[in-house]
C-alpha cells in the first residue's frame, strides 16, 4: 500500500537537466576522418598513392639514372630486356632500367603537379574569394575573365613555351598561367552563392569586416568544394604536363617525366609494349589514386554527411 503511494508521489523536475546535450561533442575534423576511413576503396587508394609518392621521391636519389646517356653504349645486350628479376621493369632502347626511368619521371611529374596545383589553388582561392565577395570588383573581373577564358589553353601554352624555352620552372609557369583564373572563377561563383545567406547578413549587422567574413563565414563552407577541386586539379595538371611533354614542349632533355617517357616509348608500342604500358600504368595509378582520395575526402568534409 505504501509502495503504491510512493509511486504516485510528485517529483521535482530539474529545469536545466533538459538543456543538457547528451550527445558527444561534435568535432568537425574527427567526423571528416571517421567518414573518410569508412571507405575501404579510399584507404586502399591512399596507401597506393602514398607508396607511389614515397618510391618516386626516394628511389631516384639512389638510381644514378641519366635520361640522356646509356650505362654502356656499346653493350647491346642490356637494351630492350623484358621485365625480369634483374630489371623489374625491363630496360629501354639505351639499356637504362625502366624502373629507374619511371620513378625519375614520376618524381618530376608529381612535383610539378603539386607545385603547380598549390600555386593555382592558393592564388585562385585568394583572388576568387575577394572577387566573389566584392560586387564592384566582380563587374570588372568578369569582363576580363570572359575574354581570357576563351583563349584555348594549348595554344597559349605552346606559344609561351617556345618563347620561354624549355625548363622545369618555365613549365610550371605555363601550367599556372591560365589555370589559376579558372580556379578563381569557380571560387567566385561558390562565394556568391553563400555570400547572401542569412547568417552572413547577421555578421554584417554585427559589423564584421570583409576579411573575417571571408575567413570565418565563407571559406569554411568551401572546404568540400575546394578539396573536390584539388582532386580534379592534380590529375588534370599531370595530364596537361604529360601532354605537353609528349608534344616535346616543356622539359629540357636532362629532366624526364612520365609524359616524356611515354612520348619516347610510344614508337615501341608494337614491338616492346612494356616500355609503353608501364609508364602509362604508373601515370594512371597516380591520377586515379589521387582522384579517389580527393573525392572521398571532399565528400567526407561535407558536414551533411556527418549527421
Amino acid at each position: 500500500m505504501s509502495n503504491a503511494n510512493e509511486k504516485f508521489q510528485f517529483v521535482k523536475i530539474d529545469e536545466f537537466a533538459s538543456e543538457h546535450i547528451s550527445a558527444p561533442h561534435y568535432s568537425y575534423w574527427k567526423s571528416v576522418f571517421k567518414q573518410f576511413f569508412k571507405s575501404k576503396l579510399a584507404i586502399a587508394m591512399l596507401i597506393m598513392a602514398a607508396v607511389i609518392f614515397s618510391i618516386s621521391m626516394i628511389q631516384p636519389l639512389f638510381s644514378n639514372y641519366n635520361p640522356m646517356a646509356s650505362p654502356d653504349i656499346s653493350d647491346f645486350s642490356i637494351r630492350f630486356n623484358r621485365p625480369n628479376l634483374t630489371f623489374w621493369f625491363g630496360t629501354d632502347h639505351w639499356g637504362n632500367s625502366l624502373f629507374d626511368a619511371v620513378w625519375s619521371g614520376a618524381r618530376t611529374s608529381i612535383t610539378i603537379a603539386l607545385l603547380a596545383t598549390s600555386i593555382n589553388m592558393g592564388l585562385g582561392i585568394a583572388v576568387g574569394a575577394i572577387w566573389g565577395y566584392n560586387k564592384v570588383l566582380d563587374k570588372y573581373l568578369l569582363e576580363i575573365y570572359n575574354v581570357v577564358a576563351n583563349v584555348p589553353f594549348l595554344l597559349v601554352a605552346i606559344m609561351l613555351m617556345y618563347v620561354l624555352g624549355p625548363g622545369f620552372w618555365q613549365l610550371i609557369f605555363v601550367l599556372c598561367m591560365t589555370e589559376w583564373l579558372s580556379v578563381a572563377y569557380f571560387i567566385r561563383t561558390q562565394v556568391m552563392i553563400i555570400r547572401d545567406r542569412e547568417y552572413n547578413l547577421v555578421s554584417r549587422t554585427l559589423g564584421t569586416s570583409a576579411v573575417r567574413m571571408i575567413s570565418r563565414n565563407i571559406l569554411p563552407f568551401l572546404t568540400s568544394v575546394i578539396v573536390t577541386m584539388l582532386s580534379r586539379e592534380i590529375p588534370s595538371i599531370i595530364s596537361s604536363e604529360s601532354f605537353l611533354s609528349f608534344l616535346g614542349v616543356g622539359l629540357p632533355p636532362q629532366i624526364t617525366s612520365l609524359g616524356k617517357l611515354i612520348s619516347i616509348y610510344i614508337t615501341y608500342y608494337g614491338t616492346y609494349p612494356y616500355l609503353f604500358w608501364i609508364p602509362v600504368a604508373v601515370l594512371a595509378s597516380i591520377s586515379v589514386s589521387f582522384y579517389i582520395v580527393g573525392q572521398t575526402f571532399a565528400d567526407a568534409s561535407d558536414p551533411k554527411t556527418h549527421r
Binding site: A4, K7, F8, V11, I13, A23
Partner: protein, 351 residues
Amino acid sequence: MERKVILSARDVVVKFRVRDRVLTAIRKVSLDLYEGETLAIVGESGSGKTVLTKTFTGMLESNGFISEGKIFFEDQDLVQIKNNKAWEKIRGSKIATVFQDPMSSLNPIRTIGTQITEVIIKHQKKNSKEAREIAIDLMDKVGIPNAADRFNEYPFQYSGGMRQRIVIAIALACRPKILICDEPTTALDVTIQAQILELIKNLQKEFGFTTIYITHDLGVVANVAQRVAVMYAGQIVEYGTSHEIFYSPKHPYTWALLSSLPQLGIKGEKLYSIPGTPPSLFYEVKGDAFAQRNPYAMNIDFEEEPPFFMITESHFAKTWLQDPRAPKVELPSAIRDLHATIVKIYGKEGV
C-alpha cells in the same frame, strides 16, 4: 449513432535507420478514423504526426519502415503493401495529401491545367477533353476566378494562396475518401489561411470525404476539428472531441500546450512555458516520455509507461494522473475556464 470506421491503425511502430542507429519515430499508435469526420492531429515537430500519416499513403522515406502493427483500410492491411504499384491505387485516388508548401508540390515547368488533368486521366480513365472539363469545374469549386483562362498558366503566375487551392484541387481530383492536410496553411498569410480552411470545410460538405489535419496551431484545430488527437514523442497521449480536449483536457502535455499559448497571455505576467526539449527517440524511452518536462510528474512516470485511461466514451488520456491512486490535480488556472478567459480578453466575438 453508429459511425463507420474507414481507417483503423492498430499498434503501429515505425522506425528509421539513420547512419548506424535506429530511431523509433512512432511507438505503438492506434487510431480509428470515422467516416465523414474531421480529425486533427496536434503535436510539436518530432512528435511523429507527419510520419504517422505517411504510413497511410506509403510515403515513408526509404530509410523508414513499419516494424509492427496493422492499418486497415477498405478490407486491406496497408502495412502489407510492399510495392509502389499497389500503392498507386490508393495514394492520390483513395487517400490524398495536401502538403504545407504549395510551391514544392507543384511542378514549376508544367501548366496548372495539365497537372490536374494528368491525375484525372491516370486514375479515372477519362480522355483529355473530359478531364479538362472536370479540371476547370474543380478549379471553379476551389475558388479560382476565370478558371478557364487560368487553366494554361504556370504555378509562378499564381499567388501562394491560389497555389494551395490548386494543390487541393489536384488532391480532390479523384474524389478520395480521405484527405490528409499536413500543415496546409502554415506557410500562408493569416487572412488567406482563413479562406483556405473555409474552402476545405465547404468542399468536405460537398464531396463527403474524411479529413485529417496535421498541425501545431491550436487555433486552426479549434476552427476545423471535431476530434483531436494529441501526439508527443511518437505516441498519441490524449484524444477526444474538440470540446473535451479544449475545455476539459486531462494530459499534462495538453495542459502545457494550451497554457503556453500567447493568446492567453496576460500583460505583465509570464507566459507558461514547457521547459526543455522532447527526449531523443534513438534511445528507448522508460516510463512516460513527458516525465522529464512534466511539472506534475510522479515517481511512477519515470518507471512505467501509463496505459490509456477512459474519461468518457470518446475521451482517453495516457497519463498516470488518471489512475485512481494518483492525487487529484486541478486544471492549471490559465486554462481552467478557457472559453470565458478568451471571451474576456478578446471580447465576445473574438474581435
